[in-house]
């Protein structure tokens, strides 16, 4: 019997809307993946040894896939609060495009493939770090911290800070001070970045009962914490110049970029406006891009001058 009406079609899909490939893609949080690809690439490129280009590309792909997989598991677990928040209610699960089990399956399968691929292409220390990152984001941050403590972003931020460390380890097979500095920069960058957004989206988080710092401690305390983290983060980004990882030129650029970050944080502390909060949020993305691009260009220029 031919199906012709929308109702009959709906009846064949358990009431779910028909998902497109784009819905599955959006489950992997492509914007987060792009940041992971960039910082992971920087970690790999800055390492003192090099990989075969194909192995390099496969390792980077595996790191990105691992990040995407943890995003899918995050969306599976957070489907109840995603449905309440304006910012997330159009995600595939709350919007009714797929069953939660489909998202979880995708997340687990892609997690396994990404760890296996990284281990086989590079080394198992890097693969273990990737597995730990997925575990940390999906369980420690999403399941344990996010709904329990206003420090969710601070501790959970470690998950976003791991990719350059994984990239470095994938190339060298070991850990050293340099990848730890890259980790520390992103770790200290994460709280002011997310809290700037949380100040503006405060009502959304409050409605979903997520204890973000502005919801629990108020806007004034959040702005104070943003300044503290920004002031601590700015000098950290200059450290690569002092440990032989980058030149003085990079240090000057990082100092200037950090000064702007701290200046915007102070401006937000004083005026407390949504406009400044969004300015800081936007600039924080540019800042991280500038710092890591600066490191990559610096290394490229150093190699070029040697040649």
């Amino acid at each position: 019997m031919a199906l012709t009406s929308q109702q009959q079609i709906a009846g064949t899909t358990d009431g779910l809307l028909e998902p497109s490939v784009g819905h599955f893609w959006s489950l992997l949080k492509p914007r987060v993946m792009s940041l992971v690809v960039f910082t992971g690439f920087a970690g790999m490129y800055l390492a003192p040894v090099s990989l075969h280009p194909l192995v390099f590309a496969i390792a980077l792909f595996a790191i990105a896939a691992g990040a995407g997989a943890s995003g899918a598991i995050n969306q599976w677990y957070d489907r109840d609060i995603d449905a309440v928040m304006k910012r997330t209610k159009t995600r595939p699960i709350p919007a009714g495009f797929m069953a939660p089990a489909e998202a979880l399956t995708l997340g687990l399968v892609v997690s396994a493939i990404s760890v296996l691929l990284l281990g086989l292409s590079t080394n198992w220390l890097a693969a273990s770090l990737l597995a730990f990152t997925i575990f940390f984001y999906a369980l420690v941050y999403t399941v344990w911290l996010k709904r329990r403590t206003p420090q969710n972003i601070v501790i959970g931020g470690a998950a976003g800070a791991f990719p350059p460390m994984i990239g470095w380890t994938a190339v060298t097979g070991t850990l050293s001070i340099e990848p730890l500095v890259l980790f520390a920069i992103i770790f200290m960058w994460t709280p002011p970045h997310f809290w700037a957004l949380a100040l503006v989206k405060n009502d959304d988080y409050a409605r979903a009962q997520i204890p973000m710092l502005p919801v629990v401690a108020g806007a004034t305390e959040t702005r104070r914490q943003i300044v503290i983290y920004a002031v601590l983060m700015a000098p950290l980004a200059v450290v690569p110049s002092f440990i032989g990882m980058a030149s003085l030129s990079y240090g000057v650029v990082a100092s200037l970029a950090g000064a702007v970050f701290a200046g915007l944080s102070l401006k937000l502390w004083r005026d407390g406006s949504d406009k400044t909060a969004m300015q800081l949020f936007g600039y924080s993305i540019l800042y991280l891009f500038l710092v890591f691009l600066g490191l990559v260009i610096d290394r490229f220029a150093a190699g070029w001058m040697v040649v």
């Binding site: 031919a2 199906l3 012709t4 929308q6 009959q8 079609i9 064949t12 899909t13 809307l17 028909e18 998902p19 497109s20 490939v21 784009g22 819905h23 959006s26 040894v49 990989l51 075969h52 194909l54 192995v55 496969i58 159009t90 995600r91 595939p92 919007a95 495009f97 493939i113 691929l117 086989l120 292409s121």
Partner: protein, 48 residues
């Protein structure tokens, strides 16, 4: 974000959409198989 306007209106549209998704999945699996094959060749070739 994807909107419900992408929804199929007839059974044949729905089948076409599912067929498209299946082909994408086939492409991903084939791509992964090729990736592991090429990776094996590169590793056997002595690349670190």
């Amino acid at each position: 974000m994807m909107q419900p306007r992408n929804q199929p209106k007839t059974a044949s549209e729905m089948q076409r959409m599912r067929k498209g998704r299946n082909f994408v999945l086939l492409g991903i699996i084939a791509g992964l198989a090729a990736l592991f094959y090429v990776l094996t060749l590169v590793k056997i070739g002595g690349a670190s």
